[in-house]
Amino acid sequence: MVLSSVISGCGSDDIKIYRVPKHEDAGSPKPVQKENGHVHRPFDYDVPSEWNEQEASGMRLASFKAGNVDISLVRLGLAGGDLTQNVNRWRGQIELSHLDQDGVLKAAEKISVPLGNYYLWAIENPEHSQGGMLAAILRQKDAVLFIKAWGGPVETLALKSEFKEFIASLRVHRHD
């Protein structure tokens, strides 16, 4: 009887209700995916004059075009924040060989902005028509921001200073 009551009672925590302090989420507002599929961004920023803002969709919080260069702002959970894996994935996209962890860190610039510290990589493959990439990873408390510009090698790398200014302008959106 004891055995059967233990076994039958073990499913009692199939539905759990508990409360967590709101401070768990403090300082890291989440993007909101509304029912129509559009994303409402949790950040404000200054858009460089040459950039045209596009409709953000899917995983993107913001999307821009500067000539033929595509610029995106994406926010993922911490699990997606491995530097080496991400940099090598990007390098693979423009047909460059992989780097080891030291190589990835050596190739990066470490920059501080109001939102936090970030790593920036300028990746170039002159032999590839889309072989230019500026990629930044900014780690927050519970998420990682990916800011990426991708296009032809010359025009993409020419955007470096604007790209850095854009990241420096990122700030948490305030609801008034």
Partner: protein, 371 residues
């Protein structure tokens, strides 16, 4: 009465335990070999934590759990109803009691233990433990002023056709499809009128189950009803960067599929994380975390290092891993909750005492026989 005695005699028969132990050995061998293809967790679930083990989906055979139950019942009948209370049998009696206690501890561990990760960023704090393997569907109600209310449905609801209802939820959810491992792929073709949110732009592609279960990314398609123009079919996957949020009266409710998360009765604040590497290499030599345990208004400082876990009641916190990216450090603790933790120690002592006593009691007749 005679019939009852007959049943007791049958159920306490030593042949039951002999055959059961033989079957357990087969399961042990088979499960160990199967680990190569199934992975550790799935092999454990299939062979040792199951009631029935299906051979080729056709022939049912006793799973590890059913076999253990048979052994426990056999031992119980023998111990409490069929033991001779003669002083010469005390050693055997005590040994049987130790083994019975061991089975009882196993039962508690099987049903009331859990393992997971507690991830704490340096300077931050948390009491939420994520299971290594199990998923859940969680509704996070942000309407309460000071705290968020979480209503989570265990993996038992992650099956096609399951209905998720709760008095505190102002809408109903029907599970349309479940993926053990998935990846979002850009949608090709016509978008259904019913589809909302991410489902309008992405499909969830089914991937084969990864033998390392922690690598699997669960996915689910749900139908939401009761929210007017927000009603429709939604797709969710573990680790989605953009959570799905619904507007409800008085605020918002977020919904997601994630690892089964349970709150600890205390919070862990990470004061400092320290890592030492072997000279001239990047290979970790040791790492430790200085933590503050916050519980009911009290604060206790403690150190958790690689070989020094922290025990708090039925919880044990091991320094499991860490991550650092040059910007901030994060400590990862393995948290084991085991209400039957003490049983193997006590049982082993009792079994040793029982066997020792049996040898001592048998010694005179042994000497006589040798003489």
């Amino acid at each position: 009465m005679t019939e009852l005695k007959t049943w007791v005699r049958r159920l306490s028969s030593p042949s039951i335990i002999y055959y059961s132990l033989f079957w357990l050995m087969i399961l042990l061998f088979w499960g160990t070999v199967a680990q190569k293809d199934l992975g550790l967790y799935q092999a454990q679930e299939t062979f040792f934590s199951s009631w029935v083990l299906w051979l080729g989906d056709v022939v049912p055979t006793p799973g590890g759990r059913l076999t253990m139950l048979v052994i426990t019942l056999n031992l119980t009948m023998k111990l409490f109803f069929a033991s001779r209370l003669h002083w010469k049998g005390w050693g055997i009696l005590i040994t049987h009691f130790g083994a019975w206690l061991l089975m009882l501890g196993g039962l508690l561990t099987a049903y009331f233990s859990s393992e997971g990760n507690l991830v704490v960023v340096e300077g931050g704090r948390s009491n939420l433990v994520e299971d290594y393997h199990l998923n859940e569907i969680a509704f996070i109600d942000t309407r309460p002023v000071l705290e968020n209310q979480v209503i989570s449905f265990s993996g038992k609801y992650l099956r096609k056709g399951a209905e998720l209802r709760h008095p505190e939820l102002p809408f109903e959810v029907e599970v349309l499809d479940v993926m053990v491992n998935t990846t979002p792929v850009k949608k090709i073709g016509v978008v259904s009128e019913e589809e909302r949110g991410m489902a309008r732009r992405f499909d969830l592609a089914k991937l084969p189950r990864d033998p390392q279960s922690e690598r699997n990314r669960g996915g689910v398609r749900l139908r939401i009803s009761g929210l007017g123009d927000q009603d429709g079919v939604y797709a969710l996957f573990s680790g989605m960067g953009v959570p799905q949020i619904f507007n409800v009266e008085g605020g918002e409710i977020e919904i997601g599929i994630r690892r089964r998360t349970s709150p600890l009765p205390f919070e862990v604040k990470l004061i400092d994380f320290e890592r030492q590497v072997h000279p001239g290499t990047r290979m970790p030599k040791s790492f430790k975390s200085e933590v503050l345990i916050l519980r009911e208004g009290t604060k206790t400082q403690a150190t958790i290092s690689m070989n020094k876990p922290l025990r708090i009641n039925e919880y044990t916190l091991f320094q499991s891993s860490f991550s650092e990216d040059g910007i901030r450090e994060t400590s990862i603790f393995a948290v084991v909750e085991n209400h039957g933790r003490i049983f193997p120690y006590i049982s082993s002592i009792i079994i040793c005492l029982g066997i020792g006593l049996h040898l001592v009691l048998q010694l005179p007749s042994l000497i006589r026989r040798v003489g």
